[in-house]
């Protein structure tokens, strides 16, 4: 029986590769960050709100164990919210498999823990965020940014459960990429994982493309050029449907339907009537469609040609809706994916113009 105030509840943890010379089986360097309960509540006696501690170990749990030599209370992992994988750790599939397996087996760790990858070291990120400004929540800035449904497409949060699910279905997953930009924590873009190995990064725009295809965006802003001026649209409803066109030579069509409203539009000189003709609206929609299609096609290229990573759940789609086709192609899926013809058709409907014309 351990009293509630006699435990430490870390909410973020980062895993790095241990570069020290005398590692001896302690292959990871693990950083925990946890709030300082003495700085909370009415009888707050201390100022610092978060602490971070560092340890080495052969696994997450081993490192927590090793920390008992200098921490007063035992670590209780149930409230871990974010796990940061460093680039070095993620590049090695054995590491990733081991970590994921450990998390999966453990009784205590919440399977909704958010996974995040960072291009430098996790230690840097976690210690960095201690000094980051503008963070006052008890759950930490990483977690708050991740789950805060800000309707953004710049990154797609993934939990442990999502990650394992993706790996089982398609062998490909994306994890949001977090880094310290000056003094602030920034999460944008994603790292692509194939078969539990980090193979590359995509930026925010490409992430948006993938997210659109996977029905993972709630709303986002799209910029397009129309008649030489900038047009800004807020897309509120984005749905994608996949359709198999040709089974022999794999050809799949993605139908993206976007509903949106006008955010900002610079009217050309002398036009006082605003957006008022059907034709004008239609042209604007077409402009947005082209913009989106370009982005998605670009993203698909990168996925297919550069990474050969099916981050768009194509194999899952075939397995469920066209099992006969799947039977034929599943053995050399990588090749098939490379050669597959992926067509994109975008349909934009601008429903509202805002308060003015």
């Amino acid at each position: 029986m351990v009293e509630i105030n006699e435990r430490i509840y870390p909410y973020a943890v980062g895993i790095d590769v241990n570069n020290a010379e005398s590692s001896e089986g302690d292959s990871y360097m693990v950083t925990f960050s946890y709030p300082n309960i003495f700085s909370m509540g009415e009888n707050a006696t201390q100022e610092e709100t978060i602490y971070a501690v560092l340890s080495t170990g052969s696994s997450l749990f081993d490192a927590a164990q090793n920390l008992t030599s200098n921490l007063q209370y035992p670590i209780y992992n149930k409230h871990l919210k974010v796990l940061v994988l460093s680039d070095a750790v993620a590049r090695n599939p054995k590491n990733v498999l081991g970590i994921i397996d450990g998390l999966n087996r453990d009784y205590v760790i919440n399977k909704m823990i958010q996974l995040v990858v960072t291009p430098k070291t996790a230690e840097e990120l976690i210690f960095g965020k201690l000094k980051a400004k503008r963070q006052r929540t008890t759950e930490g800035v990483l977690y708050s940014i991740l789950i805060n449904r800000q309707n953004t497409s710049m990154f797609t949060p993934k939990t442990l459960a999502n990650f394992i699910d993706d790996m089982d279905r398609t062998g490909v997953s994306t994890l949001p990429m977090a880094s310290m930009v000056e003094d602030y924590v920034d999460i944008a873009g994603a790292g692509i994982f194939k078969n539990y190995q980090l193979i590359g990064y995509i930026d925010a725009k490409e992430n948006e493309g993938i997210a659109m295809l996977n029905n993972r965006i709630r709303a986002t802003g799209i910029d397009a050029t129309y008649n030489g001026t900038d047009l800004s649209i807020l897309a509120t409803n984005i749905k994608t449907k996949k359709k198999l066109i040709d089974a022999e030579n794999l050809k799949v069509e993605f139908l993206v339907k976007i509903e949106g409203q006008v955010h900002e539009f610079t009217l050309p000189q002398g036009n006082y009537t605003g957006i008022d003709t059907e034709e004008m609206l239609h042209d604007m929609e077409e402009a947005v469609e082209n913009e989106v299609k370009m982005n998605i096609v670009n993203t698909l290229e990168i996925l297919q040609k550069e990474y050969q990573a099916d981050a768009i759940y194509l194999s899952d789609y075939l397995e469920k809706y066209h099992p006969n086709v799947w039977e034929q192609v599943k053995d050399n899926w990588d090749e098939v994916f490379l050669e597959a013809e992926l067509e994109v058709d975008v349909e934009v409907v601008i429903e509202r113009r805002g308060l003015t014309k």
Binding site: R7, A44, Y76, H79
Partner: protein
């Protein structure tokens, strides 16, 4: 001596000997007739018999009756006796009696005995009176809407209060006596064409089996007739309200009114009935439904709240939301005791306060509640002995205990509360659940006069729709059948609906 003899002197000697040193039992000798005088001895208890009434309607009417003063010479004592009996005494309740035991019983209940010379029978005048409380609102069961008369200690008034509400000749009242020395009268109340005969017979059988010196209050009787007297929970309902008794009788249950006790007993009692209050029937159904659900939550909280607090904070902090964890931990930083000790300390203090509050009545009593609750609690938190959440938990627990309509059920839960705290301290949430299993088992095993205690939750009475009136409260239009758990004979109580 079993029966009166014809010798007045012998009778009086016997009585005087029996009532030796009972200075409150008075003997009055009168003589009637002018030429031929007949001696009459009047015996009564000062304070229990209405002296005025006895003087007026018994003794005075004997003196003032003209033709009594002219007693014909040839009239036998027997004839004279019958004349007095039929024509002279202006009392509504009158009987002839010759058994000594009954006469003693009557005198000691407040009746007056008239012993006549040369007669082996005496006249017993019903003159029971005595100090009694006026009819007041029952202190333990107040309602916002509904009748406010409550029982007092006098049997006949109590019976009247119930009879007023059931003007049906099928409403029967049978007297029985319990207690060898106290000879307390117990009235068995039931409605003949509704009640289940087996239940009635069982009640009568149990009353007959009571063998004890004295039954001072209905509570003692309750303990003697219930199925499992070792259980911390009551299997007999008690109430101070005549409307509750009447309602129970209409449901096919049996009521017991005990002389000298303002608490009437109702059998059988089940969990369903023990969480009802009479107010439920006088308010609107939607309100009552919500209140009943709250009551059930209160019942649950009254014994599990501190235990759950201990279990969750000490064993399973993972069950709380993250933000709550941090603040809870922050609030407990400098508390020196483990939460089990905290809980026991505060609960004990609460019990002490409650006990002290009941001993002291009036304005001081309520001050203790405020002083204890606010000040001690606050002081304890400030001193850092107890965490503020603990105070809240203890307060919630106590309030929940008061929300349970049946006082005995509440005390039953109070008793088990400490066991649950111990269980939580040892085995956390698992311990609490094990405790609940044992408690539930106890309820399931318990039965009240043959009816399972957990009706209607355990199947008896479901078909008659008992559930409509326990967990929630259906509007009165929907409750056209009597509750089924008592196996009543006459199921339909409202017209216009078919089963």
């Amino acid at each position: 001596m079993e029966k009166l003899t014809k010798d007045l002197k012998e009778n009086v000697q016997y009585f005087k000997g029996l009532f030796k040193d009972c200075d409150d039992i008075l003997f009055r000798e009168i003589e009637i007739g002018d030429e031929h005088k007949v001696k009459i001895i009047v015996i009564f208890v000062d304070g229990m018999a209405n002296k005025e009434f006895v003087s007026d309607s018994a003794i005075q009417s004997l003196f003032w009756k003209d033709d009594l003063n002219h007693i014909p010479v040839d009239e036998t004592y027997e004839l004279f006796f019958n004349r007095i009996f039929k024509e002279a005494i202006a009392s509504a309740e009158l009987k002839k009696e010759d058994k000594i035991e009954t006469i003693i019983d009557n005198i000691l209940s407040g009746d007056t005995a008239l012993l006549v010379e040369n007669m082996d029978k005496c006249i017993v005048i019903g003159s029971r009176d005595g100090p009694s409380r006026s009819i007041e609102e029952p202190k333990t069961e107040t309602v916002i809407r509904g009748p406010r008369d409550g029982f007092n200690e006098i049997m006949k008034f109590n019976l009247a209060l119930v009879r007023r509400r059931i003007k049906d000749p099928k409403f029967k009242v049978k007297f029985k006596q319990v207690g060898r020395r106290s000879r307390t009268t117990v009235a068995v109340l039931y409605i003949d064409d509704i009640v289940d005969k087996k239940l009635l017979d069982e009640v009568k059988k149990r009353l007959d089996n009571v063998d004890i010196d004295a039954v001072l209050d209905s509570a003692i009787l309750e303990n003697l007739i219930e199925d499992n007297y070792l259980s911390p929970f009551p299997q007999v309902e008690n109430t101070e309200r005549p409307d509750s008794v009447a309602a129970a009788l209409y449901e096919g249950r049996v009521g017991l009114i005990v002389d000298n006790s303002p608490f009437a007993l109702i059998v059988p009692a089940t969990m369903g009935t023990l969480i009802q209050s009479s107010e439920d029937y006088y308010e609107r159904w939607s309100q009552t439904t919500i209140i009943r659900i709250i009551r059930i939550i209160a019942m649950f909280l009254s014994f599990t709240a501190p235990a759950l607090y201990i279990a969750i904070t000490a064993y399973h902090p993972g069950l709380l939301p993250t933000k709550l964890i941090y603040f809870l931990a922050a609030s407990r930083i400098n508390v020196p005791f483990p939460s089990v000790v905290e809980a026991i300390l505060m609960e004990l203090t609460m019990e002490l306060l409650r006990e002290a509050g009941t001993r002291v009545s009036g304005p001081i009593g309520s001050t203790i509640g405020i002083v204890g609750g606010l000040i001690i609690g606050q002081a304890a938190v400030d001193a850092g002995i107890v965490s503020p959440l603990m105070i809240i938990i203890v307060a919630v627990t106590t309030i929940s205990t008061f929300a349970i309509p049946s006082y005995e059920m509440a005390t039953g839960f109070r008793t088990v509360r400490f066991t649950f705290i111990a269980l939580a301290g040892v085995l956390g949430l698992y311990g609490v659940v094990l405790g609940i299993i044992v408690l539930l088992s106890h309820f399931i095993i318990l039965s009240s006069f043959g009816i399972p205690f957990t009706s209607p939750f355990s199947g008896l009475g479901i078909e008659e729709g008992d559930l409509k009136d326990t967990l929630v409260k259906a509007p009165i239009q929907r409750l056209w059948l009597r509750p089924g758990f008592t196996n009543p004979k006459n199921k339909r109580r409202m017209r216009g609906h078919k089963k």
